[in-house]
């Protein structure tokens, strides 16, 4: 087997259960703010995902934030979407990111500008996430997306993709995951999981398709900070599947934050038990303080 290109890859290949944490770069030019956020999660994650203008709203570039992460001696998972760049810009940035030391790359299609803070923007989507994966794989094999040879040093990433096991049509999600694996994804981070039964069904289907031998699956957790937030996600965030039992528990909790952490830990423990789950991806959505307790309980 080839040598792993990143710590995340090495840990997964060694069979370690990994923790990745999502960090949204600040909506300003402050390096200090990135550093602060990083120092809050550093000891509790094996790698940190830097989002690429999530919900199609402007924040500091995910590549810039990935470089700050590297400077801080920490491992970034650079998230890249197809929303804002055509195939020329995508390739240019990928080559540059590798030259600067980024090794984990997560390929996504990206939220549509219409749901973001600049709805008038031109949506690019020259490629989709599957095509982006094959573009990166091509560069690694020494060819540009146009088929022409890439001469000299090639990039080499630990390549990832995302999947939402709860988006419809459910049975096709597994095939789409397979498609992403075929296109070059080596690890998969999922949407936040609340419906454990449904997720387990998804896992078994993925296993039957032989996908879990091809990719490392890192299951997503979103610690609910409040009843209001959980309800909002259930009602308003497309593709979220939140069973009523969690909503009820949050509604009747004396201390909602404490209950939110409890729920996240319970979900995390259940996911850790499932065959095929190789790590947890924690999306804090600004609630960095919750991380230490959750990870300590799950490690």
């Amino acid at each position: 087997m080839e040598r792993p290109v990143s710590k995340l890859q090495r840990l997964l290949e060694e069979g370690k259960f990994v923790f990745t944490v999502e960090l949204q770069p600040p909506k300003n030019a402050s390096k200090e703010e990135v550093r602060k956020k990083l120092s809050a999660i550093k000891d509790f994650a094996d790698a940190v995902n830097l989002t690429d203008c999530s919900t199609a709203s402007v924040s500091m570039s995910s590549l810039a934030a990935s470089l700050i992460t590297l400077e801080e001696g920490f491992e970034p998972v650079w998230q890249m979407t197809c929303r804002d760049r055509n195939r020329i810009a995508l390739q240019a940035e990928i080559l540059g990111a590798y030259a600067l030391g980024v090794r984990n790359l997560l390929c996504m299609t990206g939220d549509h500008p219409l749901v973001g803070d600049h709805p008038q923007a031109k949506p690019v989507y020259d490629l989709d996430s599957v095509q982006l994966l094959s573009l990166v794989k091509g560069l690694e094999e020494g060819k540009f997306f146009n088929g022409k040879p890439l001469k000299g040093e090639r990039p080499c990433f630990f390549l990832g993709a995302v999947e939402n096991p709860f988006a419809t049509p459910l049975h096709f999600r597994v095939l789409r995951l397979k498609k992403k694996a075929l296109a070059g994804a080596r690890f998969i981070q999922t949407q936040g999981i609340f419906n454990l039964k449904k997720f387990e069904r998804f896992l078994r289907l993925a296993e039957e398709e032989g996908i879990l031998e091809k990719v490392f699956l890192i299951a997503g957790i979103i610690p609910p900070r409040s009843f209001k937030m959980l309800k909002y996600m259930k009602e308003r965030v497309p593709g979220m599947d939140i069973p009523d039992e969690w909503i009820k528990r949050m509604a009747s909790a004396r201390d909602q934050r404490e209950e939110g952490i409890k729920i996240a830990v319970e979900i995390g423990k259940a996911l850790k038990e499932m065959k095929g789950v190789r790590g947890l991806h924690i999306m804090l959505i600004g609630w960095e303080e919750a991380l230490p307790e959750i990870v300590k309980a799950l490690r």
Binding site: Y125, A167, P169, R176
Partner: protein, 216 residues
């Protein structure tokens, strides 16, 4: 069909400020079929302009997108200060290219290539992208109907058959999957769809096609 929408009267009036003699030029093509810019509409708009103090008259041609039907207007145009065209953008531009001496203004906004799915309801169906892939997608077009134009869809936001970006619209990829499944063709979707070739679409503008010749 090219789908158009009349511009608000105030907007049209703001273009025409300072002119006196106006020709409202209708078209008997797409805009006439859906009552946006045919003979009747051109006449009605000319009447409104007259009430606002203009000297306005109306006329329609068979198709403003064909120079053959425009060329006979030449003499008549000398009687007017400006033309308000009710054709789609193609008609307005074709007119402007032929008659550079008289100002021409658009009376409609050109929206998309679409179908009238029920009376008065128009939906975009084709993006005129120049590399048709409907043979792969059960006849439905993800380029036109998916907000992200995904070729390897659906994205992670489709929910119960609804689109993440426009929840009141169906997710076209879910429809494609349903149809291919019914036709026993779902396996075809495991193929990676190659990217679109924008040199056949807006990446190469203006596009030109010479009938009978391979061309971009």
């Amino acid at each position: 069909m090219i789908v158009t929408r009349p511009k608000p009267l105030e907007e049209v009036l703001s273009f025409l400020k300072g002119f006196r003699k106006i020709l409202v030029l209708g078209c008997r093509g797409c805009v006439a079929i859906y009552h946006v810019g045919g003979d009747k509409e051109a006449k009605a708009l000319a009447q409104k302009l007259s009430q606002k103090g203009f000297e306005a008259s109306s006329k329609s041609v068979l198709r403003q997108c064909d120079p053959r039907y425009l060329k006979d207007l030449k003499e008549e145009l000398s009687q007017f200060d400006a033309v308000l065209s009710l054709a789609c953008g193609v008609g307005v531009v074709t007119f402007a290219e032929m008659f550079s001496e008289i100002p021409v203004y658009p009376g409609v906004d050109t929206l998309f290539c679409g179908a009238q799915v029920e009376r008065g309801v128009f939906q975009e169906k084709c993006r005129a992208c120049g590399n048709c892939l409907l043979h792969l997608t059960a006849g439905l077009c993800p380029v036109a109907l998916c907000p992200k134009g995904l070729l390897n869809g659906p994205c992670g936001g489709s929910s119960e058959g609804r689109c993440e970006v426009n929840p009141n619209k169906p997710c076209v990829w879910e429809e494609i999957i349903k149809r291919l499944e019914k036709q026993g063709r779902l396996e075809e979707l495991l193929e990676l769809f190659p990217p679109r070739d924008y040199s056949l679409a807006e990446g190469n503008s203006p596009r030109e096609y010479v009938h009978g010749k391979a061309s971009k």
